[in-house]
Symmetry: C2
Subunit: 191 residues, 2 copies
């Protein structure tokens, strides 16, 4: 059984929490405005907006050593909705991995809207969580956690693929904001 | 009725040709190894591998002036399957628009596998052609052409979004090459 710490109690944090517990694993949730009691999970999900990731690193960097740390963010420039705030040849997740060299950083959940995590489906397909990272064991652990809840977890490659996952997340957000898709729709990964 | 010139007679050229004619529009197809008779279409689809786009521009640049030119390519580095060959902050389509300043360049079809264009569906969803470009009339024309054949055409934004469309195409190709999805599957766009 995996124990998962989720930092952030917004829509995404709640949806991911629901998935973890539905699969028979355990969750501890942290409100970012609450006290900074230490995380105890083997997996720590940073379910915060991208600009808040740096705060979590500053506060909790040392205690994240050795843990699987999951970046779910889409680093959009929300003032223009026309670009990302990370370097074009990199990603939020790559930046996080650089800031946390002792952690096993994964990119995941950023291509999933909260409603599709809660519904477990996009159209006729199970909701698919695309997971990128350089540690195979860490990816397998997260894929097992989501699969236990009836979702599909797919290894999307090395952490370099986080760049493409963030592009997918960005595009999907612009399509939803432009009412081309709904917030319960989006990219369904069809085998 | 639209008249469409398709340069390239591979899987993608054939599949796009099938869509155009199924919708009641007309096609002329050009084999890149054949004679360079002038294109007569209002819309010209460059259904060639990315490295061949520069040849088409060199040979046909002047005759493409005023036309809607559609870039369908995924500019992968096929030797590594780990990156694109275009600048990270740009796209193949942006490069094409720079090379053809008198044309109305669109990015489209690069997120569709040939089999899903032929089948008209990905899972339970109609195959969706994501179209990016800076000319609203050109986008509407292409969207009408694919919609007439029973596909869904979606305006994915300005030509800047070609960067994200190429990231989606790249990711989808790596997932298929890694047998995470099939060549008749991939990203279904769910409303």
């Amino acid at each position: 059984m995996a124990h998962v710490s989720i930092i952030g109690t917004g829509n995404m944090g709640q949806a991911i929490s629901g998935i973890v517990t539905a699969g028979g694993n355990t969750v501890e949730a942290f409100d970012t405005s609450g006290p900074d009691t230490p995380v105890t999970g083997d997996v720590v999900v940073l379910a915060v907006p991208h600009p808040a990731v740096a705060d979590v690193v500053a506060k909790r960097g040392p205690e994240l050593a050795g843990k699987v740390v999951v970046d779910i963010t889409n680093p959009l420039d929300f003032s223009t909705f026309d670009s990302l705030t990370v370097p074009a040849d990199s990603s939020s997740a790559a930046g996080l991995a650089e800031a946390l060299p002792e952690s096993r950083v994964l990119k995941a959940f950023n291509t999933n809207f909260a409603a599709t995590l809660a519904a477990r489906a996009v159209g006729d397909q199970p909701t698919t969580v695309l997971v990128a990272g350089d540690d195979a064991e860490a990816k397998a652990l997260l894929i097992d956690i989501v699969a236990a809840a009836g979702l599909r977890g797919v290894d999307a490659g090395s952490l370099r693929r986080a760049r493409e996952l963030e592009a997918v997340g960005f595009l999907q957000l612009t399509l939803a904001a432009g009412e081309k898709i709904g917030w319960a729709g989006g990219f369904a990964v069809t085998p």
